[in-house]
């Protein structure tokens, strides 16, 4: 049921959800439900080596013993894990050598997403590894990267081509039994991206992945592994869009970052999954485990703009293991209508002279609930650890909520921890001031929200920042009466 040009236009006009379309591609979907047989079948389908199959099975066994977490400040109907199909791949050949071989309808979808590959190729500085419904369809810029020894491919490919790296690092930051969703992901992850930057190499372009959920009732379980070897640098962009669907879609990704001595990883996310309609129906459940580990003098920065999902449960974290390592977390989380977000970060200071910075900007509108939950943990061995946290909330209207839960555990007396928090409301006077200068209320709110988010937007790569600003605007449309 492909959309006609007209229908698509209409939908974009109403902007109910900018990317609310659905591509009808024949796909090869597993029966619903989860069992050891399904886990084995997934592994087989992906032609994985035996060690991987065993790793998945081990994860599945852990998962069976676990229960869903209850502590987050969110309410929802729990997904029925036996009612989800755990594998779906475009039916045609999974790999293409050139664009001509790609299913034209798939290309059409890319076009609608505004990521026509031709354009992307010309656009300097961005390599794209597109994850479409669980299988990487095509990878560009591989050659340029290969010259520098950089590996950027799907995780499935990495399992086959670079087993020694995958085997060494997968689960090393987020262990299989870390939490309920991580265990599930470890058992059934469909695909995702893999990136390795060799010693001393500065990745010459932003690496980016577009995720997309495209199959009715197919949970998506992405697995991302980024390894920056000693003294290397990489900036990684992750952007997500999803078609609007009538039933809840589960997304439980795992992202692991490894920054070895003197390495730096910048990981930026702009997330725009379907948040559900005005009544809160439909929408993506986003339960993600993101964590990075820093060795000596290494640095990891997480920057995220979260506007989508019915429910977001997400805490990108840094383990500052090496001395002098640095962890940063910059976040904008927008909730509107009935959205619920419980996000934040964990900074675990293990090494000496480790530093962390947390800047969190929460924007709540409609009847939404927006919670920040942050943990700063300073180990007894971590001399002179420093943390600065700032959490600002902006409220629009009287029916939404903002909550801040900062937790601090300092076991070393030399730790310096600072926490600042503010809550503000968009004032009538601010809006009138803008109106008086010819700026209508909708635009005025966008402007004020952008200003409020400035510090975080500035951390994003330029192209992403522009996109993020647009997203903020779209997601708050109609939020003033």
């Amino acid at each position: 049921m492909a959309y006609t040009e007209e229908e698509l236009k209409k939908e974009l006009e109403t902007k109910e959800y900018e990317y609310g379309f659905y591509t009808d591609i024949e796909s090869d979907t597993f029966p619903k439900g989860l069992s050891e047989e399904i886990v084995i079948a997934i592994s087989k389908k992906k032609e994985e080596p035996e060690w991987m199959t065993q790793w998945r099975l081990e994860s599945f066994r852990y998962w069976k013993e676990m229960v869903e977490p209850e502590w987050a400040n969110i309410k929802y109907k729990k997904p029925d894990f036996q009612d989800i199909s755990y594998y779906s791949a475009p039916n045609k050949k999974p790999k293409y050598n050139s664009l001509d071989e790609v299913d034209p309808e798939l290309l059409e979808t890319f076009k609608k997403l505004g990521i026509s590959l031709d354009e992307q190729k010309k656009l300097a500085g961005v390599a794209v590894d597109i994850v479409m419904d669980s299988v990487s369809v095509t990878t560009t810029f591989k050659k340029t990267l290969a010259e520098k020894g950089i590996i950027f491919c799907s995780i499935s490919e990495a399992i086959k081509e670079h087993p020694e790296l995958v085997k060494k690092y997968i689960g090393s930051v987020v262990p299989q039994k870390d939490n309920f969703y991580a265990a599930l992901n470890s058992a059934v992850f469909s695909d995702g991206s893999f990136c390795y930057i060799p010693k001393g190499v500065r990745c010459p372009m932003e690496l980016s992945t577009y995720f997309r959920i495209n199959q009715a009732g197919t949970g998506q379980f992405e697995r991302t592994l980024v390894i920056a070897d000693k003294g290397s640098y990489v900036s990684y962009l992750e952007g997500c869009t999803a078609p609007s669907r009538d039933e809840n879609q589960l997304h439980a990704a795992v992202v692991e970052l490894i920054a070895l001595d003197d390495a730096e990883i910048k990981y930026s996310t702009v997330q725009n999954w379907f948040p559900g309609d005005k009544e809160g129906k439909g929408g993506v459940y986003n339960f993600v485990t993101k964590r990075g580990i820093c060795e000596k003098n290494a640095k990891i920065s997480w920057t995220q703009v979260e506007t989508g999902s019915a429910i977001t449960w997400k805490y990108p974290s840094c383990i500052l293991k090496g001395d002098n390592s640095i962890g940063e977390f910059y976040s904008i989380a927008v909730t509107n209508n009935h959205q619920q977000a419980d996000t934040g970060t964990k900074m675990v200071h293990l090494g000496k002279n480790t530093r962390s910075t947390i800047i969190s900007k929460g924007i709540s509108a409609g009847k939404s609930q927006n919670s920040y939950r942050g943990l700063v943990q300073v180990n007894s061995r971590a001399e002179n650890a420093r943390n600065f946290s700032q959490c600002d909330s902006l409220l629009m209207g009287n029916e939404c909520g903002a909550h801040t839960f900062p937790y601090i555990e300092a076991k070393n007396k030399t730790a310096q921890i600072e926490h600042e928090a503010t809550t503000s409301k968009i004032g009538e006077d601010q809006i009138f001031y803008c109106n008086q200068r010819g700026i209508d209320t909708e635009k005025a709110i966008a402007l004020i929200v952008n200003g409020f988010s400035r510090e975080v937007l500035n951390k994003l790569p330029m192209e992403f920042a522009v996109e993020a600003q647009k997203l903020l605007e779209i997601s708050l449309e109609g939020s003033v009466g």
């Binding site: 009138f432 200068r437 209320t441 402007l447 952008n450 200003g451």
Partner: protein, 250 residues
């Protein structure tokens, strides 16, 4: 250009404007004076379309058109500008970004394209030089941490950028030091021409020495109780408001 007939306005249950009549023609400068709380800022806000105030009787006509159902931003697009007595802060939004948005929104409303970047920058440079504004100032967050005088100067910078037909300056002089007052007043004078008009609300004769009014009106308790030429301002400075108040009672 602006014609106000028997205007009554209230906030909540309190009547503040109690029958204002005022006519401002192109090329004119009007001064409105009057004691604290007499309704000067309220009048300015009502002209600008602040919805908090309810117009219960009377009319505001701008270039012959009744503004009754016109939203504040549309009034701005038509060329009404208000320099606020208390400009608000918008954290994180730079002066440049704000004025760029304001100009392009007005252009959009008139069916025009965005102003090209080089033209915008040229204009910004011109106007900031005219008002002796440091360019670094323009990248700061709008009004955030600005001194009283800086806020006022920034209002006039926006006026210069937007080039409205009718400019209402609500106590722009308060907070400005002597030099700044002269710079700002000269700026306003440079912007004047036969097609636009200025309404200055002030408590002091000093500003009127620079921006010389054709008419002076005294607002008291929601009504214009006396109008005259520029000498009226001098007379007020000498005698205070009690004099006009008594005259109206008599």
């Amino acid at each position: 250009m602006l014609k106000i007939n028997n205007l009554h306005a209230r906030v909540e249950e309190k009547e503040i404007l109690k029958g204002i009549n005022l006519e401002v023609n192109a090329g004119e400068v009007h001064a409105i004076m009057g004691p604290n709380g007499s309704g000067k800022s309220t009048l300015a806000s009502v002209i600008a379309g602040k919805e908090e105030f309810e117009v219960t009787r009377g009319k505001i006509l701008f270039e012959g058109e009744d503004l009754d159902d016109t939203a504040p931003e549309e009034r701005a697009h038509k060329g009404i500008f208000l320099s606020f007595q208390y400009p608000v802060e918008i954290p994180g939004v730079s002066v440049t970004n704000f004025i760029k948005t304001a100009i392009n929104e007005s252009r959009k409303a008139r069916g025009m394209e965005d102003m090209p970047a080089n033209q915008m920058l040229k204009k910004i440079r011109e106007k900031s030089e005219m008002l002796d504004i440091d360019r670094k100032f323009l990248s700061r967050s709008l009004n955030e941490g600005f001194s009283g005088g800086e806020k006022k100067r920034n209002e006039i910078f926006q006026l210069a950028m937007l080039e409205p037909k009718l400019a209402i300056l609500d106590e722009t002089d308060s907070g400005l030091d002597i030099d700044a007052l002269r710079i700002v007043a000269n700026g306003v004078n440079k912007l004047r021409n036969k097609d636009n008009a200025v309404v200055v609300i002030t408590h002091y004769q000093r500003l009127l020495e620079y921006i010389v009014p054709d008419f002076v009106h005294v607002l008291h308790d929601g009504k214009i109780v006396k109008s005259g030429g520029k000498e009226l301002a001098l007379e007020l400075e000498e005698k205070g408001y009690d004099w006009v108040k008594q005259e109206t009672v008599a």
